[in-house]
């Protein structure tokens, strides 16, 4: 036995030296759940693209800050005409792309025209719909004229899909992204990791990290061991389900923030029996939001009553509209002539909130006689069957795009909801840019959605971040799906 | 002092007794014959001497070899003896050699292991040894593999391995049982020469009295693990003082009483075979062409009259079984026609063959292989009834099976038993019952008694003779054993390399064989009478 012990001791020594020694570190390994399909934010909807590149490699005219506020970025300052239709942006000078070429107004015109062109493959083409024309005044000034005033235009220019690219490298960004940000792209091992390094010709305050590696960890089971073994030092979007194992560990900091994500039980409003208001209201009464949050999100995330995130300034608390009341729910079902319940399907996309939340909701609806058959689907199938063909009864999804209450007014949207009064409110909202007026209209919109019980409003998706206790500067909230590393550094 | 002395040796495997107080001794350059029927424990004696017994075996008593106490020897001591001082030859040549090693390696291995000779030296001695056993290196280089040799040649390699180091004692356990008569004679001659040349002691184990009589100076007769009688071969077999010895000797020479076959020889031929040939495709030696076809049966013509009993005799591989299968329409001839009861049966479909099959059935050699162990006797014996126009009812079927069992000397109640509940002899009776249940006109018997012990063989031959008398069934007997042919058949056809080289009345052909192949068969076939007579003459 003695020999065996010495051999084990020797191997432990040899292997241990392999792990990194603890000097003041300037490198960081971040864990992300999904691998971006490619590295061009202007040509794909996948959130993973922005998680790696937004504010790190690419920059837009404006930028959205940690609290969702609009900050200047490549545009140093701007003036808005009285009728709110023309914006004149004053650009920073001496800015260079990572390939050394200069940045000026022409790149802005190229980027905006490219995004709103007919054959554009930009996933958020709607953001640029309001633009009438873009004029270059001089290399440092660009004038944008809108068809009609748009309150959210500056915010829209802060989206990942609105970053500024150079004409020469626009087509190759998918493989070799060239931007103006503090970090530049180094390498991409498909299926494994994406590495960024500090840009040596950055126009603004340089980043404190020299190297940032985004490592792809698809399986939640692997998050915890990766953290505990020191392979990965930060998970900005950690899986709440695995939190229990690490939250009391002094080596790590757990930061709970908010996102713009409204997690909802979407209902196909045209498909019987869901076309009856009493049935939808019965569902809302049957839902116990607290149990869902405890079971599916480890108790994190705030309940919501309508389609607005509590982190948003225009949030109206309507959670009281449908308190958890099984008796009321059964009564409503009797009114709708369905007292002995009915069968329906519940299609669940891959994320944890859906797969876990789905089981709890199925159990809760079973208490009032609605027997749900759970059908897990991949995103491709969900988009095809639910989103495009509307072939579904119920589904669970979290809408993470900011300020997206207008989706209920879109024709042919997968809710199959059609309410002219609601559409009128949204139309007025688009035309006004006065804050007080917008707040009042948004309130009306939220109230209508709650009264119509268009969907089952569940909770605001929490941003569960966990990283090394000695790491500073990572965002607490996620107003948009991004990991802004510009301010991140090690404390000791 | 004798080379090998065994006294009151008892052996049990697990809890079944194998040998009881056995005595035996072999002197240098003496041939001791050990005779016994299957299950008598003769092979186990050899394995006990070699100490190659299974784990559960327990041996008591004394075995001394050249002064060494075998039972007390350590495994290392035994390893030193085996292959060097004691050599052993086994029964089944086809599986006795390692298929993936060359014959050179297998012969040289023993030499190198015992004498630490160099590879070249060992191979040279191996080449000499193989030459000595009749496998000249010109035709049989060391690089040949066992599957490239025939059964007889492989047995010669086994003998070469056993005698490579000039052992003091050679044990041969049924060395020629799996070989045909001519090959058997050659191997026995080889053994006799080797024993004489290096003054070896030979312990020859066999169930065939005639073989032992020709070879052995002294003889020990074993029955269920006990020695019945031992002594000088000629005197023991001629005086036959012990009743079991007498029974064995008589059974070996038994000829069933055959009155005139009833209504024989008249009328139209039952079976007419006209210039039948059967070719098998040669091995494909390369992509473009293959070796020339092998002609198993070459332009054979014969006819069998109703009730006649014909023998088809020849060395193994002469094509007799192939011919039998074609007659039974279990194999299609390449050319030529076979007519049965006047209708041609070659080239007919299974349905058309049904009436013909009803009148011809088959009995096989291996009593254990010819019955499906999963079925009851009733269903097995009744299988040919499938050929009847009208399917018999269950009761009719049981009645017909009972009748058939009675005819072959078995009891009605045996119908509900399974095959494994019967002895070898009884199973061969079941096989015959199956063959006669549809009252066939012709029964083809392919080596029906060669797997049976001598005493049982005699009873089965009597049964065949009796059925020929009572039911007038014609037989086509296929055998390589001339005593069986002489005992049971009227005419004989001698086959050699696919052709019938001689035909005629059985006794006439065997007494004065004209064709060269027939002569070789007759001279090689061991005959107990002749062997005893010659032994008596030698001792004067």
């Amino acid at each position: 036995m003695k020999l065996w012990k010495t051999i084990l001791a020797a191997t432990v020594l040899a292997l241990a030296t392999g792990t990194s020694a603890f000097a003041a570190r300037t490198d960081l390994v971040i864990g992300i759940p999904l691998e971006p399909p490619h590295l061009d934010p202007t040509a794909g909807a996948a959130a993973a693209i922005d998680e790696v590149l937004y504010a790190n490699v690419f920059e837009g005219l404006t930028r959205i800050g940690p609290k969702g506020e609009v900050l200047p970025d490549l545009a140093e300052s701007w003036t808005i005409s009285d009728d709110g239709k023309t914006y004149t942006f004053k650009l920073h000078t001496g800015v260079k792309f990572h390939d050394g070429t200069d940045f000026d107004a022409n790149d802005v015109k190229f980027s905006l025209d490219r995004a709103r062109a007919d054959n554009s493959v930009n996933a958020q083409k709607g953001l640029f719909a309001a633009i009438d024309k873009v004029d270059v005044i001089d290399p440092a000034t660009v004038k944008v004229t809108l068809k009609n005033p748009q309150g959210s235009f500056l915010y829209n220019m802060g989206w990942g899909d609105a970053v500024i690219v150079a004409p020469e490298t626009a087509d190759t960004n998918k493989e070799k992204p060239i931007g103006t940000g503090p970090f530049k792209f180094q390498s991409w091992a498909k299926g494994s990791s994406i590495t960024l390094v500090k840009s040596d010709n950055y126009w603004g305050t340089p980043a404190s990290l020299d190297k940032a590696e985004f490592r792809i960890v698809p399986d939640a089971a692997a998050y915890v061991p990766a953290l505990l073994s020191g392979d990965i030092q930060a998970f900005p979007f950690f899986d709440p389900d695995s939190l229990a194992q690490v939250k009391d560990d002094p080596r790590f900091k757990v930061v709970i923030g908010s996102t713009e994500g409204e997690t909802i039980l979407s209902i196909n409003n045209k498909k019987p029996p869901f076309d009856k208001l009493q049935v939808r209201q019965a569902i809302s009464y049957a839902l116990d939001r607290k149990a869902i949050i405890d079971g599916a999100s480890a108790g994190l995330g705030l309940p919501i009553g309508s389609h607005m995130s509590p982190a948003n300034k225009d949030y109206f608390d309507l959670t009281g509209r449908y308190p958890h009341d099984v008796a009321k729910a059964k009564e409503l079902l009797k009114e709708a002539g369905l007292e002995n319940g009915f069968k329906a399907t519940l299609k669940l996309p891959p994320p944890g909130y859906a797969r876990l939340g789905g089981e709890i909701i199925a159990s809760e609806l079973r208490d009032i006689g609605i027997d749900l058959e759970i059908i897990p689907v991949e995103w491709a199938q969900w988009l095809d069957q639910v989103f495009t063909k509307k072939d579904y009864d119920l589904t669970i999804v979290s809408h993470t795009e900011p300020n997206d209450i207008d989706i209920y007014s879109r024709k042919d949207y997968y809710f199959n909801y059609d309410n002219p009064t609601f559409d009128k409110v949204i139309a007025d909202l688009n035309l006004t840019s006065d804050e007080a007026k917008r707040n009042e209209l948004l309130g009306q919109a939220q109230k209508i959605l709650a009264d119509d019980a268009v969907v089952g409003f569940l909770y605001e998706l929490p941003k569960v971040g966990i990283w090394d206790a000695k790491l500073q500067g990572l965002w607490e909230n996620a107003p948009i799906q991004a990991n802004d590393l510009t301010k991140v550094k090690w404390s000791d | 002092m004798s080379l090998l002395e065994i006294d009151n040796l008892s052996l049990t495997i697990g809890d079944t007794p194998i040998l009881k107080d056995m005595e035996l001794s072999v002197a240098p350059s003496e041939v001791m014959g050990l005779v016994g029927e299957s299950g008598s424990g003769k092979s186990m004696t050899a394995l006990t001497v070699m100490r190659l017994l299974p784990h559960a075996a327990r041996a008591t008593g004394r075995i001394s070899f050249d002064g060494i106490d075998i039972l007390a020897a350590t495994e290392d001591q035994m390893c030193a003896l085996r292959g060097d001082d004691i050599g052993m030859v086994f029964q089944e040549p086809m599986t006795a050699l390692n298929p993936v090693k060359t014959i050179g390696e297998q012969v040289a291995e023993g030499i190198r292991w015992h004498t630490k000779a160099s590879r070249a030296e060992a191979e040279d001695r191996a080449r000499k040894m193989l030459d000595r056993v009749g496998l000249p290196s010109a035709k049989f280089p060391l690089s040949r593999y066992p599957h490239e040799l025939s059964g007889g040649q492989r047995q010669r390699v086994v003998i070469a391995i056993a005698c490579a180091l000039k052992p003091k004692l050679l044990i041969a356990d049924e060395p020629t049982t799996a070989l045909d008569v001519v090959l058997q004679a050659q191997i026995l001659d080889l053994l006799r020469d080797l024993v004489a040349e290096s003054r070896m002691g030979l312990l020859l184990i066999s169930h065939d009295l005639a073989v032992v009589t020709e070879m052995a100076d002294r003889i020990t007769i074993l029955r269920r693990g006990e020695v019945m009688e031992a002594g000088d071969t000629a005197r023991t077999l001629s005086e036959q003082s012990h009743p079991y010895t007498r029974q064995l000797a008589q059974a070996s020479m038994h000829v069933p009483a055959r009155a005139r076959p009833h209504g024989a020889g008249s009328g139209q031929a039952l079976l007419q075979v006209e210039s039948v040939t059967r070719d098998y495709p040669g091995r494909r030696t390369s992509l473009l062409w293959r070796a020339p076809d092998i002609r198993a049966v070459d332009d054979v013509s014969l006819s069998i009259a109703p009730g006649r009993s014909i023998a088809l005799v020849g060395r193994s591989g002469c094509g007799k079984s192939t011919l039998a299968r074609m007659i039974l329409a279990l194999d299609r001839p390449t050319s030529g026609t076979i007519r049965f009861r006047g209708e041609t049966i070659t080239g007919k479909s299974e349905a058309e063959l049904k009436p013909a099959r009803r009148d011809m059935q088959v009995v096989f050699q291996d009593p254990y292989g010819s019955f499906d162990p999963r079925q009851r006797v009733e269903k097995l014996v009744a299988e040919p009834l499938h050929l009847l126009e009208k399917k018999p009812t269950r009761a009719e079927r049981r009645e017909m099976v009972a009748h058939a069992l009675h005819e072959v000397g078995l009891d009605q109640r045996d119908m509900d038993k399974y095959p494994h509940e019967f002895s070898g002899g009884q199973r061969q009776r079941l096989s015959i019952a199956r063959a006669i249940i549809t009252r066939p006109k012709l029964v083809v018997a392919d080596e029906p008694v060669s797997a049976l012990d001598v005493s049982i063989r005699a009873q089965i031959l009597d049964l065949f003779a009796e059925l020929n008398q009572k039911l007038g069934i014609a037989y086509l007997f296929i055998t390589h054993d001339l005593t069986v042919a002489r005992a049971i058949t009227d005419e004989v056809l001698v086959m050699h390399d696919g052709m019938i080289v001689e035909r005629g009345k059985t006794n006439e052909v065997f007494d004065h064989p004209r064709s060269e192949a027939a002569q070789a068969l007759v001279t090689a076939a061991p005959d107990l009478h002749r062997a005893i007579a010659r032994r008596m003459q030698e001792q004067g």
Binding site: I375 | E383, Y418
Partner: protein, 289 residues
Amino acid sequence: MTLHIDIPEETLSDILAKAFRNSAFVAGFVITLLILAMAIASYAWTPYDVTRLVISDKTQAPSLAHWFGTDHFGRDILSMVMVGARNSIAVALVAVGIGMGVGVPVGAFAAARGGLVDEALMRVNDLVFAFPALLSAIMITAIFGPGAVNAIIAIGIFNIPVFARVARAGALAIWPREFILAARAAGKSSTQITVEHVLPNIATLLLVQGTIQFALGILAEAGLSYLGLGAQPPMPSWGRMLFDAQTRMVVAPWMAIFPGMAIVVTVLGLNLLGDGIADILDPKSRRQR
């Protein structure tokens, strides 16, 4: 590589007597019986209702109230293991049934006909073998949607070539036997011979291979439901219980231990049963892997 079959020469009573002296058989038989009893019992009674979620008492350690503790939704793990047994066994059993039902006739037919038919069938067999089983199972469930039924089909398909090969090897060892020639001499067609003589003699071989494929079926079902493609909630399945447990290994180890043990014990039981049967009935037959 033909299979050498020595057909046993014993009556049923001898076999049973030998069976209960064979330790592998006894152990395997007892374990399999226990698991089956647990599965059947779960239809009538389980300590708690597996469909009721009680979030308030989630991830409780094993206690008198909950012998195996509770999972992340407060469900009783013992009850889920019992009901999960029902699902795993059903999937594996039917999958073996499909494998045998299709594979054995194909294998027997190929052995009986020989020549081109045999060659063609064996090529198709090799083709199915060539497809990576797990990947193809995922493709099947992706096309027809996950669920116990599709898992059965996916696993069943990949049992077919195994049984076809075993049945063909077994039949090829029987066809040259003399009692087959005797049956041909009695005018029986190759199909009749296959049914009456060949199949009964390779039955034990198939039974042994059946237990092995049954055990592999349990593991395959666990793998598929681990990937979320097996039986869907509220029907519990051992594989998905392991998946749910892995993010709580440190905090709630019992969530991983009990379903894992259930899988190990069931597969172990079945393999021992297979070994036992093989040793008892066909001491000299070599089991195809």
